[in-house]
């Protein structure tokens, strides 16, 4: 009888338990050492903890690698900790922002916030007076108007770049990119000089929406273009082979196939403009009452409300500003999550 021995599969490239334990040990060792050094030397503060811990951990791991495997491995270990620090520094501000806004903003929330406006409340009034109704309806009005104007233009631009691909494709691609870099304040000044002064001569929601349109078009155009590029050419060829004109092919095959991706583009566009402040400061007047007429009279909006409360300076007003920021942040987060959920199945049918 012969016994057949099958070797158990091994994965020598993965870190073994011993390696993991060793890494953990060095990690804990640097934490302890940092703590001790901060305690016995005059270096104090969060910054000292952060920098010391980083330096200690880096030199410990790099030193270990140097003695175990030589200088190339030591450099590798050094860079590994460096890039990890880069990632931590990237994410730290966002954690701080979300944490601060939530912890300071919830104090400003109350039941009446969605049903009352600020027309009868002074900046120094207690939080329970007044609410966000005018700001939310105003932002909604501005966004809807900007949506009506920018979505067709944005999608047409994307269609030109993907479906027609004429001789102007390259310059237009370039211009769309350039347009996405237009500072929001310049968009506001433009509407001020081109529409508000010569034609309407007064603040209104429409003026704000026009400026937001300029800022939203490039976002919608670029995201839609990415989505339309993903639609396989087979679908377009099938449409033409069935005798469809290009118009019918685009309208009945390409656009429906890209539907959820296009919705993502629109949502990202809304997220881009929902918190835009600078042009609204120039163009909308920022009223304190609900203004149902978007074409006449000053209109409130969330960013304007936050800006006004922040500049009013009283503790109550600052709390109101944080509450406004919390609401704005939640809106942006919801929109963004929605866009990601839809965006994961871009070419769904």
């Amino acid at each position: 009888m012969t016994t057949i021995s099958t070797p158990t599969p091994t994965r020598p490239w993965l870190p073994s338990t011993k390696d993991k334990l060793r890494d953990l040990f060095f990690f804990l060792l640097s934490i302890v050492a940092t703590y001790v050094i901060v305690a016995i030397t005059p270096m104090k503060g969060k910054l000292a903890y952060f920098i010391l811990f980083f330096l200690l951990y880096m030199s410990l791991t790099a030193g270990l690698q140097y003695f175990a495997r030589g200088s190339a491995a030591a450099k590798d270990a050094f860079v590994s900790s460096l890039v990890a620090v880069g990632a931590v520094l990237t994410v730290m501000p966002i954690a701080s922002i979300i944490g601060t806004v939530v912890s300071k903003g919830y104090k400003g929330l109350h039941l009446g916030i969605l049903t009352t406006d600020m027309s009868l409340a002074a900046p120094t009034d207690p939080i329970a007076n007044g609410g966000l109704l005018h700001a939310i309806t105003g932002t909604l009005t501005l966004v809807v108007l900007a949506l009506i104007m920018s979505v067709p233009i944005g999608i047409l631009t994307a269609l030109y770049l993907t479906e027609i691909q004429g001789s102007l494709s390259r310059p237009i691609q370039f211009l769309v990119q350039a347009m996405s870099g237009v500072p929001s304040i310049v968009a506001g000044l433009f509407i001020l000089s081109a529409v508000l002064y010569p034609i309407t001569k007064g603040y209104s929601g429409l003026m704000g929406a026009l400026a937001l349109t300029i800022l939203m078009i490039p976002t919608v155009a670029r995201t839609s273009q990415e989505v339309l590029k993903l639609i396989p050419d087979d679908l377009r060829e099938a449409g033409v082979a069935l005798g469809g004109t290009q118009w019918r092919t685009v309208a009945m095959i390409v656009l429906p196939a890209a539907r959820s991706g296009l919705i993502t583009a629109v949502i990202l566009g809304i997220a881009r403009i929902a918190g835009e402040t600078a042009p609204l400061l120039l163009l909308t007047g920022g009223g304190d009452t609900v203004n149902p007429n978007a074409f006449n009279g000053s209109i409130g909006s969330l960013p304007y409300y936050i800006w006004k409360s922040f500049n009013a300076g009283s503790p109550e007003a600052i709390t109101r500003a944080w509450a406004g920021l919390l609401v704005l942040m939640i809106i942006v987060l919801v929109l963004f999550t929605l866009a990601r959920l839809l965006g994961t199945r871009k070419v769904a049918r």
């Binding site: 990632a87 601060t100 233009i153 030109y160 370039f174 304040i185 000044l189 963004f336």
Partner: protein, 329 residues
């Protein structure tokens, strides 16, 4: 029985043509017009701002860019008695803030992009990308108020430390000793705002590094860092510079966040840590509220300068980024 020979009816041959149908012509025209809208809007912005600002630009001439006085006096009837407008301090401040921002953001972004592409495990990568993209969508007013109320005290402390230990460097000098609301603070806030943008451009570029070369480097026994140094960085260098320029363009045009944290002074100041800065976009917000019609024209001219500045920076950035995308390896 005779039957008449069947008459052969030959249908007239269908005209074969490569001309698009009428509906397609309409479609193509409409789409082309929509596509040209970006040209139209950009052109109109330049034309209208130039038209409104023309009077001031002609009065000030080249001094508009080189002098740093900004004053206007109006008599009781509302007539302009005397006015000088100069953007020099604001332009210097804008450039200073954005350079600080890019200098801080670029290394951090490159490191985090490398981490995302080559170090992070799959699940962490997914989460981090979502978080960083979301941060790019956060409104600037959020960064501004957070920067003013939360970040500013720490940054002022860092500024003091920098001045203490590196004060001998010419650009970190500090006299008089005022650190509040300096270009450095504004630069840090701007850096936090542009890190997500630069990170995603860098990540995109790094992920296009040719896989065969990466594997070849590993097969030759390279460590991860040696592979990055030999393959990824040469491939992505110019693309990352383009991404940094893109961030620079964003930083130059940012208004609300800078206005919240920066002390605006009409005096050219090259000291990064000194609490006196300038910013074209913030100037517009600062002066707009109580500006007379003539001063508004000066603000329009300032807007035109800002517009052209960001346009040029963005154009260069776009050329660099697209150039690397095409060449592949």
């Amino acid at each position: 029985m005779t039957t008449s020979a069947p008459v052969r009816v030959v249908p007239a041959p269908r005209e074969l043509t490569t001309q698009p149908r009428f509906s397609d012509k309409v479609f193509r025209t409409v789409v082309t017009i929509g596509g040209l809208s970006s040209l139209l809007i950009l052109g109109l912005i330049a034309i209208f701002l130039a038209y409104r600002g023309y009077e001031v630009l002609r009065q000030e001439g080249f001094k508009f860019l080189t002098s740093s006085d900004w004053s206007i006096s109006v008599d009781d009837a509302g007539n302009v008695v005397d006015s000088t407008f100069g953007l020099a301090a604001m332009l210097v401040g804008t450039i200073l803030c954005s350079i600080v921002a890019v200098a801080i953001a670029l290394p951090i972004s490159v490191f985090s992009a490398l981490f995302l592409n080559f170090y992070a495990p799959g699940w962490l990568k997914k989460i981090l990308i979502a978080v960083i993209d979301m941060m790019a969508a956060f409104p600037s007013i959020l960064f501004g108020i957070w920067g003013f109320l939360v970040l500013m005290p720490s940054v002022e402390y860092w500024a003091k430390l920098l001045n203490n230990y590196f004060g001998f460097l010419p650009f970190l000098k500090l006299e008089p000793y005022v650190v509040t609301r300096s270009p450095f603070v504004a630069g840090v806030v701007l850096a936090i705002m542009i890190i997500p943008i630069v990170t995603s451009v860098a990540r995109e570029i790094f992920s296009q590094a040719p896989l065969d070369r990466i594997q070849a480097a590993y097969a030759l026994g390279a460590t991860r860092w040696a592979m990055i140094k030999a393959v990824v960085i040469p491939h992505g260098k110019s693309g990352v510079i383009g991404g940094a320029m893109l961030g620079l363009g964003r930083a130059m045009g940012e208004t609300v966040a800078v206005y919240s944290v920066l002390n605006i002074v009409f005096q050219v100041n090259w000291q990064v840590l000194l609490g006196a800065g300038g910013n074209v976009a913030s100037l517009i917000i600062l002066k707009f509220g109580e500006a007379s019609p003539y001063e508004i024209k000066a603000l329009m001219a300032a807007g035109l300068v800002l517009f052209l500045l960001t346009l040029v920076v963005n154009a260069i950035a776009d050329l660099i980024v697209r150039g690397t995308g095409k060449s592949g390896r």
